[in-house]
Symmetry: C2
């Protein structure tokens, strides 16, 4: 007699794996992946992952520069300057932007200089414009001394030759492009983008561009999962819809595995289809199935497998479940394959909100609760978005989600929750 039992899956067959255990099985099996890299131009490098440490080819700045608008001086000339005993310096030149200084600074002299201007020989400090009093067009008065090294940046102080500008495994952000441009690094070695193959399964599924006959529905998952994988930086190939027959499914899986670094199929809400997904990953072997069923709602029936180092995912057919499984398992796998060294201690940014009503949860299960966020009387409220299994409108209604962990049996109204935004 089948019974609801958290140590069995929905068919009463096997123990469900806790989410963290499934993730750690998955990630540990992908530790020794071989990655290929390619050399690309800096202008194409946004969001790519560095395949090696990038070292600075030069000292920056190449010469000492002013960091303020003012006057380049010999610091020793200003020693002892005060309100009662000001010091006077003669303006004997100006450092023009982008040009060498017009000579050397002699004792008792100074040059006008702008931020970024090259420090003239003889000078070792810059006095800010605001701290000077013009006497006439050729002389300034100082009422405060300037130490050597004030308001300037020394040669190599920013980055010195041979030091690491960006480490290996770094995802290149706009500011990193700027850093590399500043160092004149016009090409770099990055990991090749992760290739993801997507199959939709189920005899009840037709392509979304078709008009489904009675009993059939349009494929929602392929386009959603494609969008999610692209956002994760992958190159996606869509292998279309395969039937619930092993002789169709297996060869398409083989082709997808040959052409990609990660393969996922979704759908098959029928019992037979769930069995087929398991059977096919088992038949592929090396080693085959890692996890079948996790303590997660929604997303319980996920299958995670591995074949010759290629992770395989059988996602539930229900679009919300498929999306949740993507976020919790597939996205981290793409990240790992990409070579991105994620800062593991860095949590995801969240929004704090107040739960609008009580939510029950079974202990021993991770619940992912999708919410709309709405400000009510100045308080940001999280309103759970509930929908019947298979409802596609719930897909789009949520602003984000929060978790209720395995040890909790639910959360009370007005609890504080940390919402992950679905952007």
């Amino acid at each position: 007699m089948p019974a609801s039992d958290t140590t069995k899956d929905m068919l009463g067959r096997q123990r469900l794996t806790p989410v963290h255990e499934a993730l750690s099985l998955l990630t540990s099996s992908l530790q020794n992946i071989q990655r290929t890299s390619e050399r690309i131009c800096l202008t194409e490098a946004l969001d790519r992952i560095t395949a090696q440490d990038i070292l600075s080819p030069e000292d920056l700045p190449a010469q000492a520069r002013s960091t303020m608008d003012g006057f380049a001086v010999r610091a020793a000339d200003t020693f002892g300057a005060s309100q009662s005993s000001p010091c006077y310096l003669q303006i004997s030149g100006e450092v023009l932007m982008g040009e060498n200084p017009p000579g050397k600074i002699e004792q008792g002299h100074c040059f006008r200089i702008s931020t970024g201007g090259l420090l003239p020989t003889g000078s070792d400090g810059v006095v800010m414009l605001e701290h000077t009093i013009p006497v006439d067009s050729k002389m300034i008065e100082l009422v405060k001394s300037v130490g050597a090294g004030t308001n300037l940046i020394n040669r190599g102080e920013d980055i010195s030759t041979g030091s690491v500008a960006l480490g290996a495994g770094h995802r290149i952000r706009p500011q990193d492009l700027g850093l590399l441009a500043g160092l004149g690094i016009g090409a770099l070695e990055v990991y090749c983008r992760v290739k993801v193959g997507i199959l939709s399964t189920g005899d009840e599924i037709v392509h979304w561009s078709e008009n489904p006959p009675a009993g059939k529905i349009r494929d929602i998952n392929a386009i959603t999962l494609t969008g999610l994988a692209r956002r994760a930086g992958a190159i996606v190939t869509d292998y279309g819809i395969v039937s619930d027959r092993e002789e169709d499914f297996f060869p398409t899986m083989l082709k997808a595995i040959k052409e990609n670094d990660l393969v996922l199929f979704s759908g098959g809400s029928s019992v037979g289809m769930r069995d087929l997904g398991e059977k096919i990953i088992g038949r592929l072997g090396n080693p085959g199935i890692l996890v079948h069923g996790v303590t997660l709602k929604p997303g319980k029936p996920i299958i995670i497998g591995l074949h010759n180092g290629i992770p395989l995912f059988g996602l539930p057919g229900h679009p919300v479940s498929a999306m949740v499984c993507f976020e919790l398992f597939v996205e981290p796998a793409i990240e790992l394959l990409s070579g991105h060294k994620k800062n593991q201690t860095l949590p995801q940014p969240t929004i704090q909100a107040v739960l609008e009503r009580n939510i029950n949860s079974a202990a021993g299960r991770l619940d992912l609760i999708r919410v709309r966020l709405q400000e009510i009387n100045g308080v940001l409220m999280a309103q759970p978005v509930l929908g019947k299994s298979g409802s596609i409108s719930t897909l789009s209604r949520a602003h984000g989600y929060f978790f209720i962990d395995e040890s909790s049996q639910g959360l009370e109204k007005n609890s504080e929750v940390r919402v992950h935004l679905l952007q």
Copy 2:
């Protein structure tokens, strides 16, 4: 005598505008922008902005469906069923996935059904597999009654014909692609992407691919700002480096304005260059300058202008300042021009961390403090990334930033801060 005074800019000329006032001037001047739209295929719609409400062309589901694996029944047949008085139903058929049910359900009968299966005529409820006891291959026992409507989704319950699937001004996420695919919407009207023109200015600047002679530096800002604008969804044209002479700068600005929806220039750390940016925006007019200088660190010398509905930005030359000004002013302007109706009450997701040391701030000024995040003894610490003006390595070292607002004179060590991630 020039003096540091928060109501004057660095040249002692004009009042600095508070950041929120500058933003509201900018956004209110962009309220009546005319946008163009284009019709695109669903497969190209990720991250685009809907130009009109998208209505559902049909009822979903088109027919009532089961939301569970189990048996489709006539609810009335199960009334009164209990442990002491179970009810027995004859299994007279099976609803196959993707097919019409094999007939009508007669009194005392039921059909096997899977999640997603079409509800047969005559039945008005589904009993879960787990709540039945198989008597033999042709009969089940029920010890609990099922109400009409249980475990099924009615026609149009998910989305009904003519209801709004996605509102106008919505940025299309992967799950929204799924929703539209489910409704068979293969093409849609979206706003044209915002076109951004970028100029770099300053006689001391050379293109990053060149080897700078003494006194010159490579252009860092164009490639950083291009990356930021692309991430904000814009199409970017780089107009290269223009000299500090009005006869070079003005015609290039005119050309960029003609070809784009927003134009920004950066650089010119010299006093002359700052004056020139102001002069050129003033000369363009209609209306010309909106803001010159804000109470912000870094980023104080920003110029914000408008010419015939096209926002113009003069960003500081210092890369960190240019980036901060982009995030605080240019990105919101691109958002506004894009037609995206941002949920204004939704805050940005942040990471809570603990400040590692005291930070001073001048009252009356918004300070943006860039930090590295590091977990120390289980606590996420925010370590301020400090760097001399013009240091490019600080560009890349920060994980994120937090604000110290105008009313505060600083924050003490161990204060809790909310960090915006620079991803």
